[in-house]
């Protein structure tokens, strides 16, 4: 009967039927995915440009100081030299002010000369107009890029929660949620580098995040095409209702506070053959405790 309906529809010269449309959409999305994949730059650590970072420090400082009233504590907890894995909780949707505030503080504190890289989602690096991020040391998130950076003796900032955590609804803004991802622990063990947890608060108040839209993302197969587990829905200027946040948004001027915690030397604290589950529980617990303390300091949303 369905086949008959299809024949009838085609014969009448009406618009293509549902299965045909689905195939068309699938081909279109696959085409876009191929384009995006092609645009992802190969990781080249040499693209980081210390002079560019130094020259742009005043602009970043203005934004961090005046707009976000940024405050970064505990930078003294980060080892002075050598490779280190900085593990942060991710906030702010596709515009992540806490990353900007922390990057400014790190480069001002240790000097632009210290190699510092950040892992970012493929989509971020392939968007037009964001090429400058590579000069800051932002590379596509992948185990091989992370290894390259650490083997080069750099400090590496990762957000294990990634797109899942960064688009959490606003009522979960004071929650560390890595979605059970433990790759960062395996990386730290493999490279034998300390982990410094970096906890931030305020980023998830820069827009009204309503839903991750996981079901829609699954229906559209965004995970297979773009490594996206979510299709976030938020209310944010200048769009109003913002689905996907692909073009970013104008963040509200929420006060951002970031705290770097004491370094965790995994094998010293958890033995020569540590259990990644135990380490994961420990790290997320200390980060959640710190986030609770930072959240308790805030009296009002956005204002801080």
């Amino acid at each position: 009967m369905e086949a008959a309906a299809v024949q009838s529809s085609s014969a009448n010269g009406r618009p293509p039927d549902a299965p045909h449309r689905a195939g068309l959409v699938q081909r279109l999305v696959s085409g876009v995915a191929r384009q995006v994949t092609r645009r992802i730059p190969a990781a080249d650590l040499d693209e980081r440009d210390p002079d560019y970072i130094r020259e742009s420090l005043p602009g970043t400082w203005l934004l961090a100081s005046l707009y976000f009233r940024g405050e970064v504590r505990g930078l003294g907890n980060i080892p002075e030299n050598g490779p280190v894995l900085l593990v942060g909780n991710h906030s702010g949707g596709n515009v992540t002010p806490d990353t900007g505030v922390f990057t400014l503080a790190f480069t001002a504190y240790f000097g632009v000369e210290r190699p510092f890289y950040q892992l970012a989602h493929n989509l971020v690096l392939s968007l037009p107009g964001l090429g400058f991020l590579r000069k800051y040391g932002t590379v596509a998130a992948s185990p091989s890029n992370a290894q390259k950076a650490l083997e080069a003796g750099a400090a590496l900032l990762v957000y294990p929660g990634g797109d899942f955590e960064v688009h959490r609804p606003v009522w979960e803004r004071h929650k560390v949620d890595f979605d059970g991802r433990k790759g960062f622990i395996r990386l730290a063990l493999q490279q034998d580098v300390p982990i410094v947890p970096v906890v931030s608060v305020g980023g998830q108040e820069t827009a009204l995040f309503l839903s991750r839209g996981e079901t829609i993302a699954k229906l559209l197969a965004l995970d297979k095409l773009f490594r996206l587990k979510v299709l976030p829905i938020s209310v944010a200027p200048p769009w109003g209702l913002n689905v996907g946040d692909f073009l970013g948004h104008l963040p509200l001027p929420a006060k951002i506070t970031v705290e770097a915690l004491p370094a965790i030397h995994l094998r010293e604290e958890f033995g020569p053959d540590p259990d990644t589950g135990e380490i994961y529980d420990h790290i997320t617990r200390v980060m959640q405790e710190t986030l609770d303390a930072l959240a308790a300091e805030r009296r009002f949303p956005v204002i801080g």
């Binding site: 130094r54 020259e55 742009s56 005043p58 940024g70 000097g111």
Partner: protein
């Protein structure tokens, strides 16, 4: 950006120099300074190097500085080797008996940062001037207090003798 502040201290220049020539004391009287760490073999004198940081709103700004002028007890100047471009100078001048005028200057910026750099310097200037003012007041209080303490100790020793 250029910030200058001065004050008069009721103590001889040599005593003031004991404070400003000693990097170990900077964290005790310099306002906004979160690090003043010796990184050279010699802790003081021409060529001594320090890692310095000053909190200016959302960031601790600084870098590696080197002492480029050391004339005891009148002038101490440093300039940045890495980090934000900066120069600093202590000028210590005798003004009558046991009176010293102390001037602290800091100038700096980021070459090539354009209009945003100019704007950032203007906005940061009041914070830096405030740090200099507080630093001088704390230096004055500590030097004069130290002088009173040593005089009292001398009187006690004289009485005991």
């Amino acid at each position: 950006m250029r910030a200058v502040r001065r004050c008069e201290i009721h103590a001889p220049p040599a005593l003031v120099w004991e404070w400003i020539g000693d990097p170990a004391r900077y964290l005790h009287f310099m306002s906004g300074i979160t690090r003043w760490e010796v990184v050279s073999e010699r802790p003081t004198g021409l060529g001594a190097r320090y890692r310095t940081l000053m909190r200016v709103r959302s960031a601790e700004v600084g870098g590696l500085v080197e002492v480029v002028e050391w004339r005891r007890p009148t002038d101490l100047a440093w300039t940045s080797v890495t980090g934000v471009d900066q120069r600093g100078r202590w000028r210590v001048r005798e003004r009558g008996r046991a009176r010293t005028e102390v001037e602290l200057r800091i100038s700096g910026g980021v070459a090539g940062s354009g209009v945003l750099g100019w704007l950032a310097e203007r906005i940061a200037q009041p914070t830096i001037e405030d740090h200099l003012e507080r630093s001088l007041q704390q230096l004055k209080r500590q030097v004069e207090h130290e002088q009173l303490r040593s005089r009292a100790a001398a009187r006690r020793r004289a009485r005991a003798a």
